[in-house]
Symmetry: C2
Subunit: 175 residues, 2 copies
Amino acid sequence: MPRTSLLDAEERRTLAAFAGAAKAVLLAVDRDLERDAGMPRAYYEILYFLDSAPERSMRMSELADATRSQASRITHAVARLEESGFVRRELCAADRRGWFTVLTDDGKGALERARPAFADSVRRRLIAHLSPADRRELARLGELLLAAHEGTETDDERPRRRRDPDRASQGALIP
Amino acid sequence: MPRTSLLDAEERRTLAAFAGAAKAVLLAVDRDLERDAGMPRAYYEILYFLDSAPERSMRMSELADATRSQASRITHAVARLEESGFVRRELCAADRRGWFTVLTDDGKGALERARPAFADSVRRRLIAHLSPADRRELARLGELLLAAHEGTETDDERPRRRRDPDRASQGALIP
DNA sequence: GGCAATTCGTTGAACATTCAAACACTGCGT
DNA sequence: ACGCAGTGTTTGAATGTTCAACGAATTGCC
């Protein structure tokens, strides 16, 4: 198992292109959004997901899943959005540990105002450089990677506390 | 110019897959590296680039270019690496505004110790999920996007300053 | 019913990143 | 020489993110 050789040229090329492009594109979008909409992308995403959710509301954990971030980040971000009045929280009756985050009208307004800036930026930084076929290819590869990371939270073959065996068995096992 | 319509389903799909995959993969690598090498990816990258540079040293601005990050970030990161003894700084004689950052033997040691963890993580989180053809595709698309972002610092259609044209090669991370 | 493990979420401190402003030096134009 | 715009880097405050520890409610199990 400690079969650890370093990356070869082709692997490095793949990594450098993927990571580099992601960094370049997303950083550019970040700056565009900050400049044109005065909002970090992370917050935009939260508003976006809330808006497209039933009742414009989601549990904290759903938000964490949707944005692929950690619970703590969501707590802090939602706290900030609440201060801005973009979001309001409601205790969950069914499970009293939980909270719903609800998009307010103000939040909806901010989202709608930010949307065009976001669309422009994404077109300019990503879409515009790809042919339709390239876009499909990139989507396919991204989805493939996403599928591979489903259920592979952070762990993956690690100290292993006991777990439900039926739940633990799926996910991508990596050679 | 204000030709701003929102993103259509295909554009959103491309974005979601690309951004989502990048986030998932890079976050997983971040955690692996933090856990197995006790080092953030950003710092690993700096050590890596220094090691592959002539004399194991680079100017601050070269580091910023190589890692595609801002000057200020490099200043802070290098300060931290210096505290750890992984790096040492030298005033640049030719241009006394500038500084060289030099990889120390300790830093080289830390890099070599971290390398296998990094390689493993990248294989596990990225490479393993892609066929050889997919890797080439992903590399091609990434490079395409990178090329599109060359010279498009933050601005883009902005004051535009001249730059040293001979340094073309930059990358993201490579163990 | 009762206890332990688990899940949902929060907290605060540590850390990283960004931004705007500043500083220090270079080099051109006059 | 001089001044001044431009470049390379730093600073510190504001902001965002992570981590480990925690509390509260729920679930599973016997």
